[in-house]
């Protein structure tokens, strides 16, 4: 059972309170390094950083308003080969869920990793944020607005801007002890808290004793009464948006022809695949000899239809990418953000993912003990009478 604590916020300096807590984890040797977002010197963007010196945590931004890379990838790089020291990582719920999926594919090792999850209000496109910063709508004042808004779950983006579509439709805004997302060792709770006075922290089994013994926190089993209500409200809004987008998508993609019409501007750059934290194949099949053919073979295909699009295989690319990873798609929307043609890749993957995940009662990112549907089977399932599966 996770233990709960509240951290007092002095003079409305919310980020400072959170950073103070994180610093104590580093200073007292609970962990030896920390992965945390930080603003770039140019102040118009954020990146994940790996920090050893507690002092360098000053100016870190726990609620980074952008997601230039999916941190599950960062975590994968960091943990998969010989990580001997304890490292904590501040991750958004979708990053935790992606890391959990990668752990199942043996591309993240959780042994020495301490996951610090944080409630997420949503993120902006990297380029939008850069513009916001230039217009003076970013930085500390934005984070402050975010943190204040999370008390009631009302977080209006600066005028003229919207959250990334994937965030608008993300029904996992919290790392909750009710196990909407379970694999966190520390949870920083903001929704429903009077954040200018206090924020909530929850410590899981792995760290509970150490955190108490080292006097970093003292536990008290309380939480503002409004937290659940606020979280449920945010989830309900996002779910509504998700369903509306699914509906809209279904209206547009009625069959494969209309899908190709909607995706007519796909330039087959494969950016969506490169940005996706889940795409787990070490070598993508689309970049292997499987898709290199004899010239005569291309001619035979062209013969059959009179002529074909070149290079071919755009439809197959999307369908096969789905068949490999759609059961694990956690809806982070990095594919959307990476698409030069601004195609609704994430809506497509989430809409298809929804169906296939339900087929196997699978919730990606829920629990590291679960086995992904593509890597398992049951003997007694999927009856196939008379050809119809």
């Amino acid at each position: 059972m996770a233990k709960k604590a509240a951290v007092k916020v002095k003079e409305g300096r919310i980020e400072e309170a959170i950073i103070g807590f994180l610093k104590s984890l580093l200073e007292r040797g609970v962990v030896e390094a920390m992965v945390i977002p930080k603003a770039l010197p140019s102040q118009d963007g954020f990146v994940q950083t790996l920090i050893r010196d507690p002092e360098k945590l000053n100016g870190a931004c726990v609620l980074s308003p952008t997601m230039p890379v999916q941190s599950a990838r960062v975590i994968s790089n960091l943990t998969v080969k010989n990580l001997g020291k304890k490292v904590a990582a501040i991750l958004k719920p979708c990053e935790i869920r992606a890391a959990v999926e990668l752990a199942k594919f043996l591309q993240v090792k959780l042994d020495n990793l301490y996951v610090i999850g944080i409630d997420c209000p949503g993120t902006f496109e990297v380029t939008d944020y850069a513009k916001m910063a230039q217009e003076g709508k970013g930085g500390e004042s934005l984070t402050k607005e975010f943190l204040k808004g999370m008390e009631k779950g009302e977080i209006p983006p600066p005028s003229g801007y919207v959250f990334r579509t994937a965030c608008q439709m993300c029904e996992y805004p919290v790392v909750d002890s009710t196990l909407r997302v379970s694999q966190a060792d520390v949870i920083i709770k903001l929704f429903g808290y009077k954040t200018d006075q206090e924020i909530g922290i929850e410590i899981g089994d792995k760290l509970e004793k150490e955190v108490e013994e080292k006097g970093i926190l003292s536990f008290a089993d309380n939480e503002p009464a409004s937290r659940n209500e606020v979280v449920n409200k945010v989830i309900a809004e996002r779910t509504k948006k998700r369903d509306a987008l699914f509906q809209e998508f279904k209206g547009v993609v009625k069959n494969l022809q209309t899908f190709l019409d909607r995706f007519s501007t796909c330039v087959r750059c494969h950016n969506c695949m490169v940005a996706c934290p889940i795409c787990y194949c070490k070598e993508c099949v689309f970049r292997t000899a499987v898709f290199e053919h004899d010239g005569d073979q291309f001619l035979r295909w062209a013969d059959r239809k009179g002529g074909i699009r070149m290079p071919p295989d755009t439809l197959i690319f999307h369908l096969i990418r789905m068949s490999h990873m759609v059961t694990s798609c956690i809806g982070c929307g990095l594919c959307d953000s990476a698409c030069p043609s601004r195609l609704p890749v994430a809506t497509l993957f989430r809409s298809v993912g929804d169906r296939i995940q339900k087929m196997f009662q699978y919730v990606p990112g829920r629990n590291v003990e679960e086995v992904p549907p593509v890597a398992s089977f049951k003997e007694d399932e999927l009856k196939i009478e008379s050809g119809a599966l």
Partner: protein, 140 residues
């Protein structure tokens, strides 16, 4: 106009369905000639890429044949094939391709008649459906 003759690409496992197809031949079972057989060691070796490539490049239907559950020569290849096919079909359905043009069938080495009946039935069904719209997409 000549009647539409569907083209079926069949991926058959060596140990069961391919041998069953052979038996259908040697025992002179009648079945329509609309099928092109590709011989694989196991239904578990059928990648969804092959299935889609066939459908996009000219097939009206794809038949995947493997050993009955429990009989796969490689223990579990057929179970893996079944998941793969289920996922592929689910994806296609969600994208509005709802016609049942991909069939997965367990046919053993001794079931020559079942093989012939399956092909006959599949050809009938595909005739009802008409040509596969996917194979007409030059821009796929």
């Amino acid at each position: 106009m000549a009647e539409f003759e569907p083209r079926i690409v069949a991926f058959l496992c060596h140990w069961c369905t391919y041998t069953g197809a052979d038996l259908a031949g040697t025992t002179r079972q009648q079945y329509p000639p609309n099928i092109r057989i590709i011989h694989l060691m196991c239904s578990g070796a059928v990648d969804s890429i092959y299935v889609l490539k066939a459908l996009i490049d000219g097939a009206d239907g794809v038949l995947i044949g493997g050993c009955h559950p429990g009989d796969c020569h490689y223990q579990t290849g057929n179970f893996k094939a079944r998941r793969r096919v289920a996922i592929l079909k689910g994806i296609l359905q969600q994208m509005g391709f709802t016609e049942n043009r991909v069939w997965l069938k367990w046919i053993s080495a001794s079931e020559g008649k079942l093989f012939a009946d399956t092909v006959t039935k599949m050809v009938e069904e595909l005739k009802k459906m008409g040509p596969n719209p996917m194979k007409q997409l030059w821009n796929a």
